[in-house]
Symmetry: none
Subunit: 155 residues, 2 copies
DNA sequence: GTTGCTGCAAATGATTTGCAGTTAG
DNA sequence: CTAACTGCAAATCATTTGCAGCAAC
């Protein structure tokens, strides 16, 4: 999927190519496979473009989903993440929290560690991988610690 | 996972076994693998038991998630579905060779490395994982090296 | 009796929608 | 021009929380 394809789709549906839409589309195009929340999009837009109403962002996201340009995945705490899917079936490694069900992509940097680990420990030259980690994310861990402390201080 | 196990977990955490909780747990236990929304639980409870406050239902669901009795998956429209997971076989991590297609199980020992890596680098407490590595296994690698040397000596 | 639990109502927070003014085509 | 778009503020809707009364242990 290319930028031009998206603009074509917009024209085909007699949708307008406004500056706001163009920027939002570029954010996705520049980070294929990376999930963004609506808030994150708003933040990036503020930096790269100027203030854009959240309503506009949500409406653009809905439009892009209708055009099958981005996909939505809803995480545990009620927030949604939107992303420009990768072309082929290269499955990105994610961590899924067993508490809040949030799924976070594991940054590529950190995966080099797996590669060198596989090479040195298993004598296996890593070319590609599929990986899903299940566990407790930082946010939930902190929340539970806080709760536990709260309970203790009461007693 | 059995009903009794859940009640045990409740006791272990000095949580009370109230009629509302018992019924909700039974609904899940009677339909393993079936997803229910909070509203659906409320509806079933009304039929089988009597009115139960939605707040109670949500609080019970949170409790059951903490006890790892049910899992939550959030669907596109912002609603969450909860379910008693099916007992599935723990999927072992394997390495698949792209040359000979051989698949080798990754020894558990080596996976502890991943766990500590996830904890230190990602601040994520690993509980379970699914992992498939694609690459070149040692045997194929050695065979290719031998060939390459063979060609060199000819030329 | 104590905690912990429940129901209610009010609060929250992400997403949506109505509307009046603005702009791309 | 004019239909489509934007920003704002108000509205929704699932979920959470404060609180007073209630009930398991």
């Amino acid at each position: 999927m290319q930028l031009a394809d998206v603009f074509q789709k917009l024209e085909d549906g007699s949708k307008r190519i406004t500056p706001q839409r163009e920027q939002i589309i570029r954010i996705f195009a520049d980070h294929p496979g990376q999930p963004f929340s609506a808030e994150e999009i708003a933040h990036l837009m503020r930096e790269r473009f100027g203030d854009v109403g959240l309503a506009t962002i949500y409406r653009t996201l809905e439009l892009l989903m209708d055009l099958e340009v981005v996909t939505r995945e809803t995480v545990g705490d009620g927030r949604s993440h939107y992303q420009w899917p990768l072309d082929e079936g290269h499955k990105h490694p994610v961590m899924i929290c067993l508490r809040c069900q949030s799924s976070t992509r594991i940054p590529e940097d950190h995966l080099r560690t797996v590669g060198s680990w596989a090479l040195s420990v298993l004598e296996f030259q890593l070319v590609d991988y599929e990986m899903t980690l299940y566990g407790i994310c930082r946010v939930c861990h902190l929340r539970e610690q806080r709760r536990r402390r709260g309970r203790e201080s009461i007693s």
